[in-house]
């Protein structure tokens, strides 16, 4: 049996976490087949076939797959599932939306958001916002698994020569229609994969004040994150939210500014390599996870921080 990996892409290129899921899939079984469902995805297909860990690429194409509606994707995966021991994709909003629909149709109890593969049926996954780690063993014959992308390294992207096959599309699900997608276009690194993340919280006090964060992020080539409080207050859009119900990030450097450090926020960033906290409340819980804490008013500290960065001869990009 082999592992079926569901590729995430935008019909042009692979979305970055597909690379992490391929790594996870290869830790379960070396026979990794990647399924790409979409429309006019020529380049993404080539990128997938070039991944050395992928042995076969299976393409399913139709106009109604263009917008990744789970109701359309699930029947295709269910039909293909017969030949596979595991079905895998990322535990991001793409995979979270899709995989349970597949699992239920196959009568499989899904294992969500694994951070480690112990064996073909045993995995570790965080529960309670990462305050506990559960080792779980699936008793189903087939497994449906979503993986936490930041817990697996991205795979090699060149040198592979996977065979490419096409597979039949399923009937369109007509009760769900895609209307539009509003994406904030940005030249910054993606939050999920950035080497440095600078995040702002309620302490920023307004959306306008986020320009202090932006200036530092520009200088460090960092992604911009936020606490739920900052998103709820309308300071910044939802795609920046880090935490239990937002994104999980594991950058080399995470700078938390004006963030108190609720359990739910820590769940999304406490695995970061180096954590900096800037907060005027010395008792804020964020300091308990920070490698370097600066007890200061962020409105004084951030301009000085930028000044100090400007004094450096070199900054790693």
């Amino acid at each position: 049996m082999a592992v079926l990996l569901i590729a995430e892409h935008n019909n042009k290129e692979l979305r970055p976490f597909t690379l992490n899921s391929v790594t996870a899939a290869s830790q379960i079984d070396s026979e990794v087949h990647a399924l790409i469902i979409g429309y006019n995805f020529e380049e993404a297909k080539k990128a997938l076939a070039a991944l050395p860990l992928v042995k076969k690429v299976i393409c399913v194409e139709a106009a109604y797959y263009e917008n990744f509606i789970a109701e359309n994707f699930a029947p295709v995966i269910v039909k293909l599932a017969e030949k596979y021991s595991h079905i895998i994709c990322s535990a991001n909003t793409f995979g979270k939306n899709l995989m349970p629909r597949v699992a239920a149709l196959l009568d499989i109890s899904q294992i969500s958001d694994i951070t480690k593969v112990i064996s073909t049926d045993t995995f570790i996954r965080p529960i309670y916002a990462g305050n506990a780690l559960a080792t779980v063993k699936s008793k189903d014959n087939k497994k449906c698994i979503t993986i936490r992308p930041t817990s697996f390294d991205p795979c090699e992207t060149s040198g592979g020569t996977a065979s490419i096959e096409t597979y039949e599309s399923s009937k369109e699900f007509t009760s769900t229609k895609f209307i539009k997608r509003e994406q904030v276009k940005s030249d910054r690194p993606e939050l999920g994969t950035a080497r440095i993340v600078v995040s702002g919280g309620r302490g920023m006090q307004s959306g306008d004040n986020f320009k202090l964060i932006t200036a530092i992020a520009d200088k460090l080539n960092a992604a911009i994150g936020a606490s739920r409080a900052a998103v709820d207050a309308g300071y910044i859009s939802n795609d920046h939210q880090v935490g239990q119900t937002g994104k999980v990030v594991v950058p080399d450097l995470y700078i938390a500014v004006g963030i108190s450090g609720a359990i739910q926020h820590l769940a999304g960033m406490k695995e970061s390599k180096v954590i900096v906290a800037i907060n005027k409340d010395g008792e804020a819980p964020i300091f308990s996870v920070a490698d370097y804490g600066l007890e200061a008013d962020l409105f004084d500290a951030l301009p000085k921080f930028l000044e100090e960065l400007n004094k450096l001869n070199t900054i790693q990009k």
């Binding site: 629909r101 965080p126 529960i127 994406q183 490698d291």
Partner: protein, 249 residues
């Protein structure tokens, strides 16, 4: 229009969860329990729709131990009309919950089913999608805005890249994000009135659903703790540490 709202009783979001020493789970004795936070948003949205005149009845359903009734009472106190409690002891997996909910949907025939997008205890994020699959209904997950439009529902979904809008025919499942609305608090008179509202009690076995767990929990342990850090005196020291000690900039 009838709306069914599925809710779950979980350890309160403010509690610092502790792992049991024998590795069998987390400590739940004498720990504050509450409604799963996004399930409060699900109830609120259903009640708002009823108040706007578009729905005639809001039914709250929960699957869990005896005390899960407290969660139903709270839902009744903020405006749900009646409750259904499917009694289950011990761990129950999302697949089994969705099969139970499917039976309740078959019986109650709601036009909409709301629930939170994820429970903050097991963090699975599965039940709504699984129920949609079993019913072959549309699934509008991670909803932060919903509108009725020509008998259909337009839903703004929070996705990693930003926001996505979809339109679903009814009946449909909506899983709610915390930003969907601001859940209200129950007033004392409404808490009193809720005591008179009916809660129907069922057993999973009455519904003919096999809830045997398919996943064996081998152990639960604490995550590795971070080493304590240091406080720096000023910004200049911070930048020097990041450059020369941590070597990350």
């Amino acid at each position: 229009m009838k709306i069914l709202v599925a809710i779950k009783r979980v350890i309160d979001y403010n509690v610092q969860v502790r792992v049991k020493e024998d590795g069998s789970g987390v400590v739940t004795d004498n720990v504050k329990m509450s409604t799963n936070p996004p399930d409060d948003n699900a109830i609120e949205e259903a009640v708002k729709i009823k108040e706007s005149g578009k729905a005639t009845e809001v039914i709250a359903v929960t699957v869990g131990e005896e005390k899960a009734q407290e969660t139903l009472r709270k839902a009744l106190a903020v405006g749900a009309d009646r409750g259904i409690h499917v009694k289950v002891d011990g761990i129950i997996e999302p697949l089994a919950v969705s099969k139970i909910l499917q039976k309740i949907v078959d019986k109650e025939k709601p036009d909409l089913v709301f629930m939170g997008k994820q429970a903050i205890d097991d963090d699975c994020n599965q039940t709504g999608q699984m129920l949609s699959a079993l019913l072959n209904w549309p699934q509008a997950t991670f909803a932060s805005k919903i509108y009725f439009k020509d008998g259909k529902l337009e839903v703004v979904r929070e996705i990693d890249e930003g926001l996505e809008t979809i339109e679903v025919n009814l009946p449909a499942i909506v899983t709610c994000d915390l930003r969907l609305n601001e859940p209200r608090y129950a007033s004392l008179p409404n808490i009193m009135k809720a005591k008179k509202k009916s809660i129907e009690q069922l057993n999973a076995s009455d519904l003919g659903v096999d809830i045997t767990p398919r996943i064996q929990q081998i152990k639960v342990e604490e995550p590795p703790k971070r080493k304590a850090g240091i406080k720096v005196a000023n910004v200049a020291e911070l930048v020097q540490k990041l450059k020369n000690e941590a070597k990350v900039i």
